[in-house]
């Protein structure tokens, strides 16, 4: 009973982290048609910013608040300087963002060396449910993720900005003809996506500890999640992320961990092959 409960919690927790990472990736891919290979490094930057604030002796939660702002600002600058050259050229975008990611990753590596740095949890201690100890901070991650996803969903469906964003996803040229500046929207979207990645990095750094390769594993799983869910649909991306996150946390309980890792990727890619429009297909026209 206890192990089942803690396993469920573990799975839920990892699913939440995956959702948080994929949210930004999916919004950028759906909106701009750009598969941002630097997304994992935005996560890394968020983690690094948090660590930096902490290393100055300031409280960790302050770093976590600051990380999305910093990474969002970096994202904005990069969008203006680099990313805007990549619209309508998905392959060049892949290579270009990969280059960006490489630059960021290696810069961070040269700053921290090959170390694994631990950052303490801002909320320590654990909740006791029955006989099981659940980490308060991991619980907080699930709560924050839920709040962020809900807020993003409301932003997208209930506000006029969201309406314009959806218009630009659905039909960019018609949106432009209707007087919506898709250029400005793309800048906002990219900034927002980068900020979400920064938040994800800030939240998970106490769980995974900081190393230069922190973002790499999230990247491929994130892309598979988006393709699994269907590019351009909010619900799809979230469902895909939940499936990938839950699978990658649950499978090691069932089969050998090394095999589980491989199996997730194989399942995901086979599914995408035969259902190229993803889990939730009816929104695509």
């Amino acid at each position: 009973m206890e192990s089942a409960l803690s396993a469920t919690f573990e799975i839920l927790n990892f699913g939440a982290i995956m959702v948080l990472v994929v949210l930004g990736l999916g919004i950028i891919a759906g909106m701009m048609g750009i598969f941002n290979f630097a997304h994992g490094e935005f996560v890394l930057l968020g983690a690094y910013a948090t660590y930096l604030v902490y290393s100055f002796g300031l409280p960790v939660w302050l770093g976590m608040l600051g990380a999305p702002l910093v990474v969002g600002a970096i994202g904005f600058v990069l969008e203006r300087l680099v990313i805007r050259h990549f619209y309508a050229a998905p392959i060049v975008a892949m290579l270009g963002t990969y280059a960006l990611g490489l630059i960021i990753r290696e810069s961070v590596r040269s700053l921290i060396g090959g170390l694994y740095i631990t950052v303490p949890e801002p909320i320590v201690g654990s909740l006791t449910v029955g006989d099981v100890q659940l980490s308060r901070w991991r619980f907080a991650i699930v709560v924050i993720t839920t709040a962020v996803v809900l807020a993003s969903y409301l932003l997208l469906t209930r506000t006029s900005l969201g309406l314009r964003v959806r218009a630009a996803i659905e039909n960019p040229s018609l949106a432009r003809a209707s007087g919506i500046s898709t250029n400005a929207l793309y800048a906002i979207t990219f900034t927002f996506g980068a900020a979400l990645a920064g938040l994800a990095g800030a939240l998970v750094v106490p769980v995974f500890s900081l190393s230069a390769d922190l973002g790499v594993r999230f990247l491929i799983e994130g892309f598979l999640a988006i393709m699994l869910g269907g590019i351009g649909s909010f619900e799809g991306s979230m469902a895909g992320a939940a499936v990938v996150g839950v699978l990658s946390a649950a499978l090691p309980w069932v089969v050998a961990p090394a095999l589980a890792d491989v199996l997730i990727f194989v399942i995901a890619i086979v599914f995408v092959k035969f259902k190229p429009r993803g889990l939730i297909a009816e929104r695509r026209t």
Binding site: H85, P90, V92, L95, A99, L100, I103, E106, F265, V272
Partner: protein, 315 residues
């Protein structure tokens, strides 16, 4: 002593050039983005390493054909899965599919005890031909050089044949090639497996040159590194990727000593510059656009720099 060291270094560069060539054959000439070229390279390397370790066979007449065949079979299987089917695959799907393949192989190699796990398979016997042994050094250098030269000539023949022109056509405007009655997906699968075979051959050479195979040989890092080299040298040409590997590896050889931390960052910046402003790469300095495969006379279309970055190919 330094001369020996240089010989070994140059041999390794030649083998990597072979891998970059195999990447460019499918990206530069056929528009298939493979982010997993190291998969075929490394899998064939592991394959021949197992042949040498478990069967005790290291004859060049077995090892190199075996590496070629392993690369071919593996890329044929992966290519058939990714490329064929009712829905023509998107470029993103192929890129992610190959990337995933390489990542999965890396994880598998790291955790599978039979393959030596993190440590890989060390101390392979030297490759033999009759009484001769190909140890690191001058003889191996000649071997690698001849293989590269032969493969280069084969590729040159392929891309200039009817088949190669049809591929270039499918790269630039697939529907038109379909209307001509070509089965574009099958053309692509053919060239994908040819490229996999070349990568496999390179992997076999690399394994016996180093006397060692490890998980890094199949991984994402090598896969993306090869993409980078080819782009820097100039894709869409056969000599471009070779030049790219030679230039970057040589620069890395000198710079990595003095600036080990900054070198990967410089590499990233270079790649960014190439993708943004300089899609022809280094080769664009030397070869004119006129020589591009699949374009005779002047194109009536404006150059599509923003589209794929490969439309500036030359041969």
């Amino acid at each position: 002593m330094l001369e020996d060291y240089l010989t070994i270094f140059v041999t390794r560069v030649l083998i990597l050039a072979l891998l970059a060539l195999s990447f460019d054959l499918i990206w530069g000439y056929s528009g298939i983005m493979s982010f997993g070229q190291a998969l075929f390279f490394g899998a064939a390397g592991y394959g021949v390493a197992l042949v040498a370790r478990d069967l005790g066979v290291a004859s060049i007449f077995v090892v190199l054909p075996a590496a070629l065949a392993m690369g071919l079979v593996l890329s044929l299987a992966l290519g058939a899965f990714l490329l064929l089917g009712r829905h023509p695959p998107t470029t993103i799907f192929i890129a992610l599919g190959t990337l995933t393949g390489s990542y999965v192989a890396d994880r598998l190699a790291r955790s599978w005890y039979y393959l030596g796990g993190q440590n890989g398979i060390p101390s392979l016997p030297p490759m033999t031909a009759g009484g001769y042994e190909f140890a690191e050094g001058r003889l191996y250098y000649y071997l690698a050089f001849s293989v590269l030269a032969i493969v280069y000539l084969v590729c040159r023949f392929v891309v200039r044949s009817q088949f190669g022109l049809a591929l270039a056509g499918a790269r630039d405007r697939e529907t038109r090639i379909l209307f001509f009655g070509y089965q574009a997906q099958k053309l692509k699968l053919t060239v994908f497996s040819l490229s996999g075979a070349i990568a496999g051959l390179a992997g076999g050479l690399y394994a016996f040159h180093d006397g060692f195979v490890g998980p890094n040989m199949v991984g994402v890092v090598l896969s993306t590194q090869i993409v980078l080299y080819a782009l820097l040298g100039g894709v869409g040409t056969l000599i471009g990727p070779v030049i790219g590997v030679v230039v970057t590896e040589s620069a890395g050889f000198w710079l990595a000593d003095s600036f080990p931390k900054i070198w990967p960052i410089i590499l990233g910046l270079l790649l960014l510059v190439v993708t943004l402003f300089w899609p022809t790469g280094l080769i664009g300095l030397v070869v004119s656009e006129q020589e591009r495969i699949g374009s005779f006379g002047r194109s009536s279309l404006p150059p599509r720099h923003a589209d794929t970055g490969v439309s500036n190919g030359t041969a």
